[in-house]
Symmetry: C2
């Protein structure tokens, strides 16, 4: 871009409006001209090196005497703000030339006491916690495990360009450019209604759909339409700080409803609610999917207690590990549900587009409010999205996106399972782009963030997802949309290293039991069965035979099996799976207390543990 846009050039006529000369002011005209010029230079409106008009020309244009402009120039030249070159004219000094420029005595209108007159009146809504704490130079980190950032390979560059080019055809532009009304693109409405919504089980007429600038705008409209200071709003805990900020902006009273591995817990806490915001397809931030039983219970509670549900289906099409459940809006009680979704995950993260589905009266009111607060999403992008869908690009890119994400998410899970740093655990997911990680109770995520950044790793602290002030400090999120699969294992190794580095538990205090030595390892482990859980919560059983053969079975149905070998060298126990744990050789010290077996690294830190029993085979 920079090359193609010519260096800004300010003509003399363009310069004149910058001077606000006031003959009634206490300031001399000469000082007023100096101040105007310094403002223009400091703000960059007059670029460094730019040539100024001659003092005579400027004087003519401003209607002042030439002496006045000449003196202004001379003072600025002697102060180092301007440079005079013989036979060429007067130029704005470069930064290097200005290094020793004297500060002007005259108070600049841009600085000091007057700068914040408007800002002192700012009302401060509670929106600071909605801001992500990612460093802005995240792309320079090698392992950015961030949600909401995208590496270039995920963007459907050529497909989006094709759709955009079609939307730019003369006859297309003529249809969307001249109408400044509030109707959405009928072509996009048709695509969403006949292609996307049926997959979610949703039947909607055109007047039951509104296009929004991403899901955030839809949530803003819904909270404005349904919440006031008299409203009791149920929100998930942990949940989205954005929805809390939106309800807070309406002065609604919030009830924070806890979430577990089946999603929102349906309890009597819902009884007082007027409106409940829920993320059933993928709970944000824990990424779990609401179970079918909970969905039924929630809808029954809504019916019984007469509340409205805002179904936030922001990743509705990313359940690639298991079949998605139908939307709440798809059920018989569906008219209690305002459905909100986003196209941006797949379509083009930079092009915020989403939609909401609700009763026609709700959509009509939302459209009026959208007009008042923003206007409709750009019609050119609506038309491009319609082409993107109608040409089949959306489905193709969704498949590709899901393949890439599945590949990466499993790599992330396997790496976490392999390194298992300090007994961390992750919530079960059906897909998506993140894992919610729970560390040991002693983990201080804020300290961990510093340690990971030093190792090139970015993780997302989770504290801002909690409304409670005594929120756990040992949670964080790992996302996979911003780094290639090849870096995931390295990144988790570095993360694991960082977790050990910030561990507050002294290693020795944690493993007072002396570890086994030499032949004792072999005799105690032969003919045993080890039971433990994967990092993602599934049972895993390992059988160790005396001859060094080893077999494993993991998963709720034991569907994942592998074989390998184990042996002893010195005081270390070694193992190597065919496939699991990257098929690599790994050695540990071993300690046994009663039925509890611990694997320790050479410095004595507990790496993992299992229940040990004798094999009856």
């Amino acid at each position: 871009m920079a090359e193609r846009i010519p260096h800004p050039h300010i003509s003399t006529t363009a310069l004149v409006p910058l001077f606000r000369l006031d003959r009634a002011s206490g300031l001399s005209l000469q000082d007023q001209i100096r101040r105007s010029l310094i403002n223009a230079v400091e703000s960059g409106v007059l670029p460094m090196g730019a040539k100024l008009p001659s003092s005579r020309k400027l004087a003519d244009q401003l209607g002042v005497s030439r002496n006045t402009t000449l003196l202004s120039y001379q003072t600025l030249i002697s102060d180092g703000h301007l440079i005079s070159r013989e036979r060429s004219g007067v130029f704005v000094a470069t930064n290097a030339q200005r290094a020793n420029a004297r500060t002007m005595q005259v108070v600049s209108s841009r600085s000091g006491a007057t700068v914040a007159q408007a800002s002192t009146r700012l009302l401060q809504p509670d929106i600071s916690r909605t801001q992500s704490k990612f460093p802005s130079d995240w792309q320079s980190y090698r392992y950015p495990f961030l949600e909401g950032k995208y590496d270039r390979s995920l963007f459907p560059l050529h497909e989006w360009r094709e759709a955009s080019r079609l939307a730019l055809a003369v006859q297309e532009v003529e249809t969307w450019s001249v109408d400044t009304g509030e109707a959405d693109d009928p072509a996009l409405i048709e695509e969403i209604r006949t292609k996307l919504l049926p997959r979610r089980g949703i039947v909607a007429r055109p007047d039951e759909l509104l296009i929004t600038a991403g899901d955030q705008q839809a949530l803003h409209l819904v909270t404005r339409l349904f919440a006031s200071h008299q409203t009791v709003a149920g929100v998930e805990e942990p949940g989205m700080p954005e929805i809390r900020a939106l309800f807070a902006g309406r002065n609604a009273r919030m009830i924070h409803l806890p979430v577990d591995d089946e999603g929102l817990i349906v309890s009597e806490e819902l009884e007082g609610c007027d409106i409940v915001h829920v993320t059933p397809s993928r709970q944000r931030p824990t990424a779990v999917t609401m179970s079918a039983a909970r969905r039924t219970a929630l809808l029954e509670s809504a019916e019984r207690n007469d509340f409205i549900i805002v179904e936030d289906d922001f990743e509705c099409e990313l359940n690639y590990l298991e079949n998605p459940l139908p939307a709440l809006r798809a059920t018989d009680g569906g008219n209690r549900v305002v459905y909100v979704a986003s196209l941006s995950k797949v379509l083009a993260p930079g092009v915020g587009l989403g939609f909401m589905v609700a009763a026609p009266e709700v959509i009509a009111a939302a459209r009026r409010l959208r007009s008042l607060t923003t206007g409709r999403p750009s019609p050119n992008n609506q038309r491009a999205a319609a082409f993107f869908l109608s040409l089949g690009h959306y489905d193709t890119m969704l498949r590709r996106f899901n393949q890439v994400c599945e590949h990466r998410l499993i790599a992330l899970r396997d790496a976490l399972n392999h390194y298992r740093p300090m007994s961390i655990a992750i919530a079960p997911v059906r897909g998506g782009t993140t894992y919610w990680v729970r560390g040991s109770p002693h983990l201080q995520t804020q300290k961990l963030v510093e340690a990971t950044q030093a190792r090139g790793v970015l993780i997302e602290p989770a504290d801002h997802y909690f409304a409670a002030s005594d929120a756990p400090t040992n949670m964080f999120r790992l996302g996979i949309t911003s780094l290639p699969v090849e870096r995931i294992r390295e990144g988790i190794a570095a993360l694991s290293d960082a977790i050990h580095a910030v561990a507050t538990e002294p290693a020795s205090a944690n493993s007072p039991t002396p570890y086994l030595t030499g032949e004792l390892i072999k005799s105690r482990l032969s003919n045993t069965v080890l039971h433990y859980k994967t990092v993602y919560g599934e049972p895993c059983t390992i059988i160790l035979k005396p001859d060094g053969e080893m077999s494993g079975r993991a998963g709720t149905a034991g569907e994942d099996v592998d074989v390998g070998r184990w042996w002893v060298e010195g005081d270390m126990w070694f193992r190597k799976w065919d496939r699991w744990a990257f098929g690599e050789v790994l050695g540990f010290r071993v300690a046994i207390t009663g039925n509890d077996l611990s694997w320790l690294d050479e410095s004595g830190r507990v790496m993992d543990s299992a229940v040990i029993s004798l094999s009856d085979i």
Copy 2:
């Protein structure tokens, strides 16, 4: 578009999610299937003529007996909703085929009692008055004198396409597509800051600028940031219903500040204000420009009473008839001013883009709030706008836009002056795209709107611009962006006709004085001077010589002169100017009472009046 997007096709697998079968329901499975199919057909998700899967296939997919699906199909066929064609299958009936379809006994989940469960909870903010009352088929009217609608000739089609294509270059897309943050396009910020703002006299650093989705989003952000129930907000009267709705949405107390031909009247009413919204470049809706004296007085009042000014410069670059005055933000007290403007007037009405200028703290807070409520304007459009500006298209199109508007606005003014229906008057303007028209005190604009529509003319009633309940009913607006110059005169002739048609004053009662006849006209008018005002408020003097020569002089400095001839035929006085009044012959009856001369049409309606005196030449 319709041709290129293939007819939506629903595959069997896509159909399955539409069925929400509940074996615990009181409804039989067969009835549930029937209901689901009817919903899908009525909503259009299953398009007319679409082929359904065989009953066996559907039964397999739904996990029900084939008998169940077969019976569902048969009932729907006998009720007329589906059509069976031998050896082809079962199809959705077309509308014609369904004309006599029996209504289903089972209650559809989409209809009746449950449809509005969410909508009964809608809070109803006062946004209905912000809606324009234009018919949606405005393009089918021959004379749409509408503001905010555009005819195609005004859209910079090729220039916008070029800029958009450049923004779609691979390397460009890679820069804007992956970052989902909240930063604006630095290229667009630079263009606005170094090219557009200096013309308004505004100096701004990059952190003092925020890109918005048109000016409406900027106003929404500003009212959210600065107004609460403790705020007193000053708004113009008449003024924008949108800004009143935004302040009302914040529960702010409003003071309605009257406007005259110099813009906002600066009075002691401002003393209690915390924030004042003002449209100095072009008052909306009256289109007048705030005078320099009023601007100074407003800024002094802001300083004295410590209030913030929201300067809404929505048409800042359209003052083509006279030089624009610098922005309020450009003055020394400028940091009290939050400046809001739109690029959309020129750039692309359909692509809503605008910006705001304020202190860095205000911009930072506005950016956070923008993120919470919508997100940034699409980065592809920001980049395209940057190219549009950097390639010089903005300046070119602005010139062209202003030329076209000037041409049309003067044509509108001249036509109004020519037909002068029922002593209407228009406010003085420096440019822009509208005239604010005040009719005779008896005019009922609502009745006029019906009469004009019947004649193919659309005008904008003005009642919604007034907050007061006893607002005048004789005002309306005429805009020129949506019809070519050739139609303006015809349209005003039709409007004039409509005004006469709805006139409530009986023509005879209004002109009790009998008109002059024959030679009497000639003797009474020879050697006289007629003084009157143009419809746009400027003085005009006509000298009638005995030999039939006639000369005229109009304008505040008498700068507009013309000559012509006058004569008498029967009982009618005729005149023809060389240039004025389209150089056409026009005849009137004439009545004189004391020094007052009236021109009447043949039915006795007063068309215009003047003060008559003897010529001393």
